[in-house]
Structures are given as C-alpha cells and as structure tokens.
Subunit: 424 residues, 2 copies
C-alpha cells in the first residue's frame, strides 16, 4: 500500500490555513448545513471533482457526473463505495434487484474498461445483479474482454422492448449511465419506463460548464457566509463569450477582452492576499472536455497570436465534437507535488450519493503548475487508506493530512451541491 | 496492520460450504430481502453480534444493542462507521447538531472508556458536537480522564431541565444510550422531549434473551426459506424455564429436564449431519450477562451436581443483579483458532444502522471450543482491513476470507433484524 502523501510546497499558505481552521472549527455546522442542503436537493448518484490547491486558494475546476477512474481508488475505498451505493439505491428504488450499467463506447481504452469493471464490482458487492449494456451502434452480439487486471467484462447489445430497456434475459429496475452523452441523447434511452440515473439532461449534450460554475459561485457564496470566509478562497472566477470559431478566428476580440478582464479581477485578489505569482486563465470547451481543448493563457494577446496548430487543437473535443463555446476560468495553481521528482499533482475526489468515498492524485511529470494535468502522460496515485477525506482530527495540526483531506472533501461536496442544484 | 486471519480448523465443513455457496449464489436476493425488511422494521441505531462458527453451523449467540469495544475495530473500519452514523442520524433527525452520549458507569474500566472515546470520535467525525453525560449518581462536577491511548474523556453530570436532558451549556437534539440499563430505567431519562436511541425499553431491565431468540428463530426460518437451507444451520436452539434460584436450588428439576430435552434435539441434528462431536448446552442469565453467569453443561445431571461455588457464580450478573431466569441455548462449537498457539476465537460483528461496519475476533488462550469466551483473559484481534464483511467475491473460493466474512455479515444482520423486530 502506498503511504506517501503529496507535499504541499508553497511559502504562502496562510490563507488556506485560515480556511482549514474555519472548516475544522465549524465542522458540525458545515455538516448540518450540508445535510439540510441534500434534503432540499438530493445529490447526484455519483460524481468526481478535480480540485486545485494553490496554498492560498482551494477550488474545484471540473465536476464529472459520469465519473471514470474507479480503478484508481485505493482498495480500502471500496467498502465505503459499496456502503454509499447501498444508501443511494435504497433511496432511489428500495426493491431494485437488477441494474443495467451503460458505459462509454471506448472499447480500446483499457483504463476506462478497468473503471467500468470496478464500478460493476462495487454494484455487485452492494448486492445487485449487474449487466453492462452498450450504446455501440455496431454491437450485434455480446463482446467479452479480459482486462490487464484479469477482470472480465461483457458488453451486451441494448434492446428496446416497448418502454423498457433490457439486455438478453435481463430486465433491469434501474439504468445507471456512465456515458456522458457528448454525442447527444440516444433515442433508445428516451421515454423509458425505468428510472435512469443520472437523468439524460445531465449529459454534456445539454450541459454547459459556465452554467454549472454560475451555480457553484452561488453555493460558494452561501457556504462562505456560514463560516465567515472570503468566497474567492474556494471559488474560481470565470467568464464566457458567445459563439466562437477558432479556425475562422470568429469571436476572438471578445475572448481576448474577457481574458484581460478576468486577469484584472484575479490580479486584484492576488494583490489583496500578497500572492507573488502571475495570474493566468484556462480557456476550455464549455461542453465536456476529456481534458481536450484546454489552454493556459497569461494575457489576451496570446489569443490573438494563436498559430494554426494551436487553433486546430482548440477546435474539437471528445469524439470530434466541435467547440463553439468556451469558458474562461481563473487558473488555480497547484502547489502539490508527488515524489522525489516533484511531479505536479492535483487531487480528484470521488463521491457516491452525498458521501465522499475516496480519491486519488492525478500526477503529471512534464506539465507545469499552471497547466491542465488531464492530458496524455498523466498517471494516478491512490490516497493512502487513512486519508479517507472523512476523518478530520481536531487534535492534529490544521494542515495535517486528515485535515487537509477533510477540506478537500468539503470543497468537493460544495461542487457536488452545485451539480445537485443544476440537476433539479 | 495485522493481516492474519483466523484459521478454521475443522474436517467437517461441508454444511457450511453449502451455506456459503447459497449465500453467494443468492446475494442479490438476500440483499434485496434485507432492504425490504429494514423498510418495514428500521434497524436499531447500533449493535454488535457474537457469532460462533462450528464449520457445520454458523450462528449468533449474543446480540448487544449497547455495544462497547469500538476501540477494538481496525482503524480502517472507522470511515465506514462514520458514514453509517451519518446515514443513521440523517434518518432520525436531519437537523440534529448536538448529541449527548450516555455511557455505562464503569469509570475504572479503561477498556470501556477507550470504547466510549472511540465512539465519541466517530460521532464527531460524522459531523456532530458530542458531549458525554454520565448517570453516575455521585458525579457533581465534570470528571476528566486521560486514557492509555492518550485520548481524553470528560464525563459531565446530567441535568434535567423540564422535559429536556442537558449538560452544562449544551442542549442535545439526540440522546444516544451506550448504557444497557441493567439496573432499570433511570427516571431522569423518562418522558424526554428529545429522542433517545436506542429507546429505553430495549435496556436489559426489560429485555429477555429468550424473547429475542424466539424472534431470531422466526427470522432464521423466513430467511432460510428464501435461500432454501435448513434453518438449523444458522439458528441455535434454546429453551427457557420459569423462576430459578441457584442458591436455594429452586427450579432445578425443570432446568435439568430441559437441558436433556435440548441435548436430544441437538443430537438428532448432529446425527443428521454426521457431526462427530458431543452436543452441549450453554446456561446463561436471560437478562444481560457481560459474560457473567454463563455455564457449559453436557447433561442435565451436571445441573443437579453443581457445588456451592458454581451456584454462587450463576446467581448474579453485572452490578450484582440477581439471576432469576436463565436461557438454555444450544452450544455452538467454535472451530476458529488464532495464531500459532491455536487460541480459541469467535468473531464479533459491529453494525451501525443496517450497515456492517467491521468486527474483530474475541480470542481466549485458556478457554475451550465449547466455552463462553467473554471472560477475563480474553483479548481482541481486529480484522484485517480487506475483510470488511461487505466485499464478497464470486471469483474466489467459497470459503475464501472475503466470502467467509460476508457470511458473517449476513448472519449478523439476521440477528440485527431480530432486534429490529423486537424493538418495534
């Protein structure tokens, strides 16, 4: 078992110490506030949240409602995930017995298939019969895979039987989507008699990061009032523009202007907190990304000076989907590093229902502290089992691992709450 | 971390293999059946169940609704316990913030106080403010303890304020009993405005093991029909008599006759399954025990031949409470041994709400396979973290650790269900 935890290497951590002190001091209030929030707006079935910890700021930068990467969780997270799945499904459908899992169509991505196999195991261990139905258009017969982990996986063709979705000899009570619907809502999933979670309208075909972060800002504001902190400490600022076409350079002026405006806002905050770093902005597709179509910029002119290759890269995302809208998001440095080579790392937190079940670090050995790490060359380091994100300890230092990971669990749940409000 | 698991040393394990095979094959049905049961009869707040595994039989022999021993759980069980507490209290009182924990009055039993401290930590980490109010009659001011584990504990005097139970400057929303009320229902806890869990009527002042095991037999019967097994494999037979007085030898004939009748029933089952062992009966107090007032007998005559010392030992239990009723329970051999010296061991399973959160082995180096192990000289060995009782694995052998512990979790939950029915 890996027992390493990343090192937070920054001289400026007073603002975050302040935040963590407040989180610990108000723990009972925070948890109560969150409980009441889940009562009003039930949490999505599951989610993963990418966080960035800059020492002076701790914020979510992406929330995935169709999480992959379950295979990267520490084995000791699995019982927590099993228990949370039991809670979640009891709430949805107490008499459910059969679950149909619908994954992405990435049949060549063995890492993804390992995640699907782990998710299937979690559901089975939680006490359900599970089969995997695939949206692959050319799948006529079941396709079996044996994964590098030795797990086997069977993708079966989906069959629509009147208002019921089935696979051969298996009628599910619940359909669990692990496909983010980037390509749109498949007709075979529409108007089902069975319950689909998450619901179809949460797919990337109908979601925008900018609307999500708008809701997140409101959540961060309400939460910050509860514990009396500056919401900026946990909330990445953002702007968005109208239609943009990188190839035709349409919408460029607006983009460049907004980059500069956002940088000014960030600079004012950096000055307030004496942050000795250069502000930056992340430009990314407003709908989905898979880490594709993401760019770091330090001033508006960089946009105007993009070369053809860069513009091509910003023009499409997963499965060749065109990018016509982007979100400009305040870049949040990550000052966490992994291992002796000080590879840049960012935490990813996993939640099922409203429970934080685990997480890991996304680590990249060749990317910088101001870059997107969700890119080829990344790898994952599970959190040690003691760092379960739900064991804060007031007897330890405010920046001790259990307390740092508790803070990650709180901020991740704020990101989850924003998703819950978006869903409802 | 201890990664040893006890050895099941018996040649006759076919009946249990049969049981475990059925449990694994029907896992989804079992879990669904249990979910529907919890809907009808919500689980008690918490419980621990002592199991005995004879290779040919796996049965609960005691169910504690005021569990101690939380300090014996593996550290990796704590996150599961925290998450289960969150589920349990959300269901009881979603807006609760303050919890008052009422422990036993054992101020000299440091092991027990360690358990109270661990339970307090679990509640705190689950997001609640926790204070400990003591029923000690002579406690006038708060009493602080520093435990061997370095944890500190503060026992505070209970104050009754109209229909509200408080400690100084702390009004709880929920009162959590960890005191089994062997001495009766304290008036200070009666007619409270606040919710008490478990409710007062579950205390040993009003409970009888024989009524409980009556309900358990019914649960075992219903469950066995679901998965088509002989209920005897999971159900210890029992008898009870009327009033008994060991010192005055009153009620002796009835006791001896019932021992013999019960032994005949067991012998018939042993013959049916070709069990090459001698049947035995455990005689114990029908109300509470703390492992006190417990005796192994192999025939009715042993009762009639008890000497004065033995009769004295059978006359009183915890805090000197007189024993006037006993339960005669089918003795279940334990064929599990711990370590190279083959110390006799029995599993104890912990549940919070309807979730199995962990367990440990009670180990005794000088007691036999047909004796009560809850006795001075026992010690505890935590289960390794991978053996969480909720991770059955159909790809592994039916008697592999995760499957054996899953079976323990199922039988423990049947015992929990019986308690739930008793409560309601």
């Amino acid at each position: 078992m890996v027992d390493v935890t990343p090192h937070l290497s920054t001289l400026l951590h007073a603002p975050l110490d302040h935040l963590q002190t407040h989180l610990l001091a108000h723990q009972a209030d925070i948890e109560r506030w969150l409980r009441l929030q889940w009562q009003d707006t039930p949490a999505p079935f599951y989610a993963s949240v990418d966080l960035r910890n800059a020492g002076f700021k701790l914020a979510p930068v992406d929330t995935n409602l169709f999480p992959a990467g379950f295979n990267n969780l520490n084995a000791s997270s699995i019982p927590l995930a099993i228990q949370a799945v039991q809670s979640a499904i009891e709430r949805l459908n107490i008499s459910a017995r059969n679950i149909l899992l619908i994954p992405e169509n990435h049949t060549r991505n063995l890492f993804y298939l390992e995640s699907v196999a782990t998710l299937r195991d979690i559901l089975q261990k939680a006490g359900y019969q599970v089969r995997i139905g695939s949206l692959l258009p050319d799948l006529q017969t079941p396709q079996a895979f044996t994964l590098p982990s030795k797990q086997s996986l069977l993708l079966e063709p989906l069959i629509r039987d009147d208002d019921c979705l089935v696979v051969k000899d298996f009628v599910p009570c619940l359909v669990l989507l692990n496909n983010d619907l980037s390509l749109g809502r498949p007709p075979i999933l529409e108007y089902l008699h069975q319950q689909i979670v998450p619901p179809l309208h949460v797919g990337w075909s109908s979601r925008l990061k900018s609307s999500y972060f708008n809701i997140y800002s409101q959540v961060a504001k309400e939460f910050s009032e509860q514990i009396d902190i500056d919401p900026w400490l946990i909330d990445p600022q953002f702007r968005n523009c109208g239609e943009i076409n990188f190839m035709k350079k349409e919408g460029y002026e607006c983009l460049a202007d907004n980059v500069d405006a956002l940088l000014s806002v960030i600079q004012r905050k950096y000055s307030e907190y004496n942050v000795p770093h250069e502000p930056f902005v992340i430009v990314k597709a407003d709908a989905g990304s898979y880490g594709m179509g993401v760019m770091t910029v330090h001033n508006g002119e960089e946009i105007l000076a993009l070369n053809r290759k860069q513009r091509t890269r910003m023009s499409s995302t997963k499965e060749g989907q065109k990018i016509s809208q982007v979100i400009l998001q305040e870049g949040v440095y990550t000052f966490e590093t992994w291992g002796p080579k000080k590879a840049v790392a960012e935490p990813v937190v996993y939640m099922i229902d409203h429970f934080v079940v685990g997480g890991f670090y996304r680590v990249h050995t060749t990317r910088g502290i101001n870059e997107n790490l969700n890119a080829p060359g990344m790898h994952f380091e599970p959190l040690a089992f003691i760092n379960s994100c739900i064991t804060p300890d007031k007897n330890m230092a405010v920046d001790a691992d259990p307390n740092r990971f508790y803070a990650y669990g709180v901020i991740a749940r704020l990101a989850l709450l924003a998703a819950a409000r978006e869903l409802n």
